[in-house]
């Protein structure tokens, strides 16, 4: 049975003497796209790494629909990190095929072809990733993260390097994920792009969740008010 929520309860993570996350609690439900906002160094990537099971919290607990962290969960989580987890020496198709096989997915060729189509890289399928622009790599990396139809999608700055057309396609992709009842957590600074599609936003400041002022104005304006 797939999980339907993600809950963080009083999660703290220390790196030596530095506290990256400080008693963070929130809950994410299926069909939600939640924006994770905050200045650089606020702890957004640490939070995503913990949700992805790559980092253990120093204290607190994380539950995936009431179930604790376990190895099988990795097959249900899609993570697009700030670094893109792509091998530059491999071609776009080889990268996707490698990760598809690593996830034990059936029908690898079909999945790779449809992922390349979505990434608009069909004509570059056999080119090594080292020759790709940042935007092309970003699109490919997103498809790599979604190749196994994950339930929980964690995206760290997914709009980096994307032009307007690619950003619009990513927004459409996120809406598809919502309609598939995925849980989506997006760390981003592109507030104007993300605002129309997110269910709500969480603001991290110095490792703590902080309130975003309600009321009139765009998300960017309200976010700015928090930093005054």
């Amino acid at each position: 049975m797939d999980f339907t929520s993600l809950s963080f309860t009083d999660v703290t993570r220390n790196f030596g003497r530095r506290r990256a996350l400080n008693r963070v609690s929130f809950r994410l439900e299926t069909g939600e796209i939640v924006g994770l906002l905050g200045p650089n160094g606020a702890g957004k990537s640490t939070l995503l790494s913990i949700a992805a099971t790559l980092l253990e919290p120093s204290s607190g607990s994380i539950a995936y629909g009431g179930q604790p962290r376990a190895d099988w969960l990795r097959g249900r989580i899609g993570l697009l990190g700030h670094d893109l987890y792509l091998y530059p020496e491999l071609s776009a198709a080889e990268n996707l095929a490698f990760f598809a096989r690593l996830h034990g997915l059936p029908d690898v060729e079909r999945r790779v072809s449809s992922a390349l189509e979505r990434a608009q890289l069909v004509d570059r399928r056999d080119d090594q990733v080292v020759g790709f622009s940042r935007g092309m790599r970003q699109r490919l990396a997103l498809e790599r993260a979604l190749l196994h139809d994950p339930r929980l999608v964690l995206l760290d700055e997914p709009f980096t390097g994307l032009d307007d057309g690619s950003s619009a396609m990513l927004v459409q992709r996120l809406q598809e994920l919502r309609s598939k009842q995925c849980l989506v957590l997006v760390a981003t600074h592109d507030l104007e792009v993300i605002e129309p599609i997110i269910t709500r936003a969480l603001l991290l400041r110095q490792g703590k969740l902080a309130p975003i002022p309600p009321g009139a104005g765009s998300l960017r304006e309200r976010y700015r008010r928090t930093s005054v």
């Binding site: 992805a52 980092l55 990760f99 690593l102 034990g104 090594q128």
Partner: protein, 226 residues
Amino acid sequence: MSFLAIVLLVVRKDLVVEFRNREIVYTTLFFAVSTLLVFSFSFVHEGRAVEDAAAGILWVAIAFSGTLALGRAFERERQNETLRGLLMAPVARTALYVGKLAGILLLLLAVEAVVVPMVGLMFQAPLFRYPLTLISLLVSGTIGFAAVGTLFAAMLVRTRSRDVLLPVLLYPITVPVIIAGVRGTAALFQVDADLPMARAWLSMLVFFDAVFVTLALWTFEAVMTE
């Protein structure tokens, strides 16, 4: 997906990456050959090599170039954080370890295929007297060295001073492997080859391999969880 299938997948990927840029093989080979050349100026006089020097020089070349290969193999996985991509897969992490280990082993054995004949030529080492025992010593010694090295290189991949720390941690732990390799090879290279002694050192190497591989498999999962 079976354990073996994951191992083969990782090995194949590593070999394709290496085949495309040949960075590890070229740098490792260059370093190993340079080491042999430098030693040959010291230990070969009037065309005759100092007795017992060949075995030590061979293993020094393997250990130093092996450290270079280990560091570089994991630096690749760090540059684009592909190691995290591997760790996100729902597979046994020990299979990822064995895959990385097998890839490094194949690269090191390829380097040894060039370095060993050079040792034979430069230091008049009798390579063909007991070739199977020599190959067994080289393979088992390389497995022991690479088993510990792969674990440490993976452990240090996110450490800032990993290039310094890798040899500092690796050499003290692998000293028994290097000593057994040197003594076993020296027993074969000496004028009156001591085959029983070489086999005794070989048994010790196999024992070290079993211990190191078991420990590495046991600790890899914990080491990879930050």
